[in-house]
Amino acid sequence: MTVLSFSDLNERCCRENKSVYQIALEEEALLQETAGEVIRLKVLENLLAMKDSIKHGLKSTEKSISGWCGDDCEKLRNGYKKRGALFGSVFEKITTYALAVTEENLRMGRIVACPTAGSCGIVPAVIIAAAEENKIPETIQINGLLTAGLIGLIISNKVQLAGAVAGCQAECGVASAMAASALAEMLGGSVKQILNASALALKNILGLTCDPVCGLVEVPCIKRNAFLAIHAVTAVELALCGVESKIPIDEVVDTLKITGQLMSPLLKETSQGGLAKTKTALGLEKLLFKNVN
């Protein structure tokens, strides 16, 4: 049976007494006509590429192609050294890593699109920071990434994960739901808790628009990755304490899709509205185009 909805997934997990990552593994192995171990190795390859992107991002302060962005991660690192984050070291690492990866993306470094390049910092930051701080072994991290993969995949069965289609709810929003599911899995959450964590994350970013300044994946995208990585953790904390989303996740995804359809095209990656049309953005646009042409 293919898993097309979250209710399918939940039913299958209950019936076969399996976790989300086990179903992800089985389905993927079936699809690729290969062994589960081969799939795990592929996931590991992506996980290691994520770790590399963090490592490189932490070292560099090189500016992005436009020249505006690229040194915020360093500001965080220095700031936290002087004054630790109020919410502790996991918070420090998650926000720093999210910026490290997205800044690495901007300078044309190597990243893993997850689900998209613009939202590439969220899943790695949450999985890797939490794993380091809680000493979670690599096999469990792979389980987390497998879980995130299946959650993202089921959402993408209903709505195309592109800012141009459904705004940023479908990019950074979905990344946040994926990260929440991964973390819930890694912390030993039940299937129900995993699905609730995803639903809570998704439900609370509905309506998020995509209005990149000058059409570049820089403003607001970079910093948004840090915010939505933390957003994922909030969802996991609530879900692990037994808080449930009153609206089931399938219905939340439907709502995301419909909200995307209701959203004006001006706010869906066209840079014709929102932050992209502010006085400052237009000024920057003039400057930037003058430098280039």
Binding site: I65, V112, A113, T116, A117, G215
Partner: protein, 218 residues
């Protein structure tokens, strides 16, 4: 509904910053390289619409060039491609044309071949025109492309040669300029065929161009 892979949401591993404007650009370049399959000394890119307006901030220009030179989507030297490239002259032109896809490009190699394609999202691409003939190549199949003088019987001659190798034909697409004029044929294959088979196809009377295109790495 077609079952998709979880890797559609946790990959590709790529050089940033945009799957459509960077990774897609590299793949369009790679596909053009696979189609041309010859050394070239000159390449010109005509970028359309969103590729033209926001391409520079996403390294679309660098990605396209790196692609035709054979770099893969996750190669971090794409960023420095202008400093690396030797012996190949390259140039860019920027246009707006609403009849074209938002992320569209013409790649002109050695003034001999014009390959047009679109970056359709999430790094996926589609080549839709080669030298004025419509095409539909997304890089997911090995493809035999030939151009010939339109006449009856060509499809069976070509498929006979391929069938002899016991290679399954996944799909077939033909186009022609006019009856009896120049025609093109795309044969998508489940497994790649050797260049010797392509040579054999080339020997068919009135066939004047054949290229054996390899699919792109996913």
């Amino acid at each position: 509904m077609e079952q998709k892979s979880i890797f559609s949401v946790i990959s590709p591993i790529m050089a940033g910053p945009s799957s459509s404007h960077t990774a897609g650009a590299v793949r369009l370049g790679l596909m053009a390289r696979n189609i041309y399959r010859d050394n070239f000394s000159k390449v010109k890119f005509i970028l359309y619409n969103s590729f033209a307006t926001t391409g520079f901030g996403h390294g679309t220009d660098k990605g396209l060039l790196a692609g035709v030179l054979g770099y893969s989507v996750d190669d971090v030297s794409i960023k420095n491609i202008f400093d690396i490239v030797r012996d190949v002259k390259y140039s860019y032109e920027y246009r707006q044309d609403i009849s074209r896809h938002p992320n569209s490009v013409d790649i002109i190699l050695d003034d001999k071949m014009t390959i047009s394609g679109d970056s359709v999202g999430a790094g996926e691409i589609r080549i839709n025109n080669i030298n004025g003939f419509s095409a539909n190549i997304d890089g997911s199949y090995h493809t035999l492309l030939l151009m010939y003088k339109d006449k009856p019987g060509m499809i069976s001659k070509v498929s006979d040669i391929i069938q002899k190798q016991k290679v399954n034909i996944a799909s077939l697409h033909c186009d022609r300029s006019s009856k009896g004029g120049t025609a093109s044929m795309y044969v998508a294959l489940d497994i790649p065929i050797g260049d010797d088979i392509a040579e054999e196809v080339k020997k068919i009377k009135d066939v004047f161009f054949v290229t054996n295109i390899r699919k792109l790495k996913q």
